[in-house]
């Protein structure tokens, strides 16, 4: 009940954002938060629900980014370019998944890191295709149904719609039998295997789904910036996405969104006021681990509950006894 009400309020606030947010600049920041939230939602499918920590997801984000910019530059229409980019993305993701799912745990992390770095190196050196560090410019944003996305407000709504679709699809996926078995492979891989589940296939499908949303975020990022360069594939970008997931709360639906908001706001807004914002961001991550090791969203929920109980006069700690 409360949840449904909160969701409705949040949805209304997001839908009405252009009305209450002062100016296009801040609306653009909100669009960026949504783009990174989609990226983090995708990554969270692996990190949070499959227990597979990827340090190479910026590679997938970046491949989609490059593919769409390249296709548009090569003369393809926007729709063809977007579909083509998604096809390239899915093929890359499948290869990425086949290679990295040979391992789990720290081995998985290292394989994804290596692949991510190799993609980054290719972006630098395969100059004929990528333009090297000069990157590729995207001449214009797409015009779905003839609506120009050139300005902040229509672009924001476009991003918001994609974001809501991503959120809903991830929620449905997690609640589905496939999502349940994915969590099973995270917690009890051997038992799942013994029960006849194809652990590899479950993980592979989750990887594809994760890659899909990471890539869609990459597409939006390319539309937003109208520029792509090797920086998007860097280890730093992969680490940033992972930090969003973990700091917000991995394995929760809303955690990655909170994490994305935290990082984007610190980088783009707080950095205008606080010279040493990078230090502060690091300190916030450390503080999160100290005070809410489960992440911002579940952590605040726990603290909120405790506060609520205390307000009602119920002794908080050990109250359950």
């Amino acid at each position: 009940m409360i949840r449904a009400a909160a969701a409705a309020v949040a949805l209304c606030a997001l839908a009405a954002a252009p009305l209450w947010i002062p100016g296009g600049y801040y609306l653009n920041i909100l669009s960026q938060i949504l783009i990174y939230a989609i990226f983090a939602l995708g990554l969270n499918l692996l990190v949070g629900y499959a227990g597979l920590v990827s340090l190479g997801h910026a590679g997938l984000f970046g491949v989609a980014c490059y593919a769409v910019a390249w296709l548009v530059a090569a003369g393809a229409g926007q729709l063809v370019a977007a579909l083509g980019a998604l096809a390239v993305l899915l093929a890359t993701t499948a290869a990425f998944a086949v290679l990295s799912l040979r391992s789990a745990g720290i081995g998985f992390l290292m394989i994804t890191l290596a692949i991510g770095q190799i993609l980054w190196g290719m972006a630098y050196r395969w100059i004929d295709l990528t333009g090297g560090d000069n990157g590729i410019n995207l001449a214009a944003r797409p015009q779905p149904f003839g609506i120009s996305l050139a300005f902040a407000t229509p672009f924001y709504y476009f991003t918001l719609i994609v974001f809501l679709v991503a959120l809903a699809s991830v929620a449905v996926f997690i609640a589905s039998p496939l999502g349940a078995s994915l969590k099973g492979t995270r917690d009890q891989p051997r038992r799942m295997s013994a029960l006849g589940y194809n652990v590899w296939l479950i993980r592979f499908l989750a990887f594809l789904f994760s890659g899909l949303w990471s890539g869609v975020a990459g597409l939006l990022f390319c539309y937003y910036n109208q520029f792509v360069s090797p920086n998007v594939l860097s280890l730093g970008s992969s680490a940033e996405a992972l930090l969003m997931v973990i700091s917000g709360g991995s394995g929760t639906l809303l955690g990655p969104i909170a994490g994305a908001a935290l990082v984007v706001v610190m980088k783009n807004v707080a950095s205008a006021y606080i010279e040493r914002w990078n230090f502060l961001l690091g300190a916030i991550f450390v503080a999160i681990v100290l005070f809410m090791p489960e992440g911002l969203v579940p952590g605040s929920a726990r603290l909120g509950r405790r506060l609520w109980l205390r307000l009602r006069g119920v002794p908080a700690a050990g109250g359950a006894r």
Binding site: G24, N28, G135, N137, N231, Y273
Partner: protein, 410 residues
């Protein structure tokens, strides 16, 4: 509100302290100057110097240009293209700046180029990407420093004619700035009878240059185009392997920038470099600039600080032409590109039709004088254009310098 204004360095802390109401006044009728720089991460070295140079300039002017108070708004891009784009939007859309100085890196500049053209805000950047004033020009862009290859054309001439080098190996980071510098050097050097025998491209994050240095043999000299912190590492390792005693070393402006001199040991002594700025230049404005930099920051200025200082001078000159008006952007950029100055820290210069500087390039030798390292000017090439002595049309018909262009002659 206090928080909001905390970020704005109203130049001259003293001026701001004396006029606590300055923000309101500046907001109403001041000129708003945005600085896109990098204050965190590996590029911060140049970024901090950019801020220092512009601050020194505004302090010298008492934060008044052409009779109008100036408000400086500093934005930290974090050294990445997406950050540069967001911060450019912040400066343009939220802070409504009249000019943007920066950004630092070529990939940052390329990321915001289209946006700047559309927003019609004059942009004065030090980033060197050749094509920004050649094959993909931007009508709101002005570059008072140099293209990547601009200083290396005369260096190629100097190497062939004055140093009489015949066979040279080049080594530079494996990215566009390296390719463009090396290409400029190669084209002029080979055009005058020299020969590039080897081109080496260590990746950006190379820790040990030895595998590349091991390939250098049978040459008269080595040219390098390193930037950032790499020059220190390169010269340490080059000298360590005993190559310095065998082959004289030459370099572009970032490789032997004056701001790096305090970081070099004796390893770099004797290096010949070409730069569009030298703290050694004897002009009135440069003497004052260097003295103020040393006094305020304890730093001998290099290209990054001098670049933003000179950008400040260009902005002042343009404002004087427009009578302090900034609202008509077409007039403003025309005034800016029409700027021609004589007494600046880099000497006389003006702009070509692409908004790129035509000015001095100094050939310097790194020496020890009175116990400290200095780049002594040994030759000045005046009025150097980005096209060197080549015909502009023919120049632009060729591809931009790249890893394989000009090719290595076999």
């Amino acid at each position: 509100m206090a928080r909001k204004f905390g970020r704005r360095s109203f130049l001259a802390g003293t001026a701001a302290a004396a006029m606590p109401w300055a923000p309101a006044v500046a907001g109403a009728q001041g000129v708003r100057l945005g600085l896109l720089t990098v204050k965190t991460g590996p590029l911060a070295q140049g970024g901090l110097q950019m801020e220092q140079g512009l601050s020194v300039f505004l302090k010298q002017k008492g934060s008044m240009l052409a009779g109008r108070p100036v408000e400086l708004i500093v934005a930290d891009t974090g050294g990445n293209p997406a950050g540069a784009k967001t911060k450019a939007q912040e400066l343009v859309e939220r802070d409504k700046v009249d000019f943007i100085v920066g950004p630092l890196a070529a990939f940052e500049l390329l990321a915001i180029s289209a946006y700047i053209e559309q927003a019609q805000v004059p942009l004065l950047s030090l980033a060197a990407a050749d094509d920004m004033t050649q094959r993909k020009p931007n009508s709101y862009f002005v570059r008072a420093s140099a293209t990547s290859s601009q200083c290396d054309h005369p260096l190629g001439d100097y190497a062939a004619k004055e140093m009489n080098l015949k066979r040279v190996a080049t080594i530079s980071e494996d990215f566009a700035f390296g390719y463009e510098q090396a290409g400029g050097f190669q084209r002029v050097f080979e055009g005058e009878g020299g020969r590039i025998v080897k081109k080496l491209w260590p990746p950006l994050n190379t820790a040990d240059f030895t595998p590349f240095l091991a390939q250098i043999a049978d040459v008269d000299g080595v040219w390098n185009g390193f930037a950032g912190a790499n020059p220190i590492k390169f010269n340490q390792q080059y000298a360590g392997l005993g190559l310095k005693a065998k082959y004289p070393v030459l370099g572009g402006w970032t490789a032997y920038d004056d701001a790096l001199l305090k970081s070099f040991g004796d390893d770099a002594m004797g290096a010949i470099s070409a730069a569009w700025y030298s703290s050694d230049l004897d002009t009135a404005s440069n003497r004052r600039f260097v003295a103020d930099m040393v006094k305020q920051y304890g730093n001998v200025p290099g290209g990054y600080a001098a670049g933003t200082f000179i950008n400040g001078m260009c902005i002042e000159a343009a404002l004087e032409k427009t009578g302090g008006k900034t609202d008509d952007r077409a007039t403003l950029i025309a005034a800016l590109r029409g700027v021609s100055l004589t007494d600046t820290p880099r000497g006389t210069f003006h702009f070509d039709r692409f908004g790129n500087v035509v000015g001095n390039v100094f050939i310097r030798r790194l020496e020890r004088k009175d116990g400290r390292l200095v780049n002594t000017i040994v030759k000045t090439y005046p009025n150097v254009s980005q096209f060197w002595t080549f015909d502009e049309k023919k120049y632009l018909a060729q591809p931009v310098y790249s890893r394989d262009y000009p090719p290595l002659r076999s």
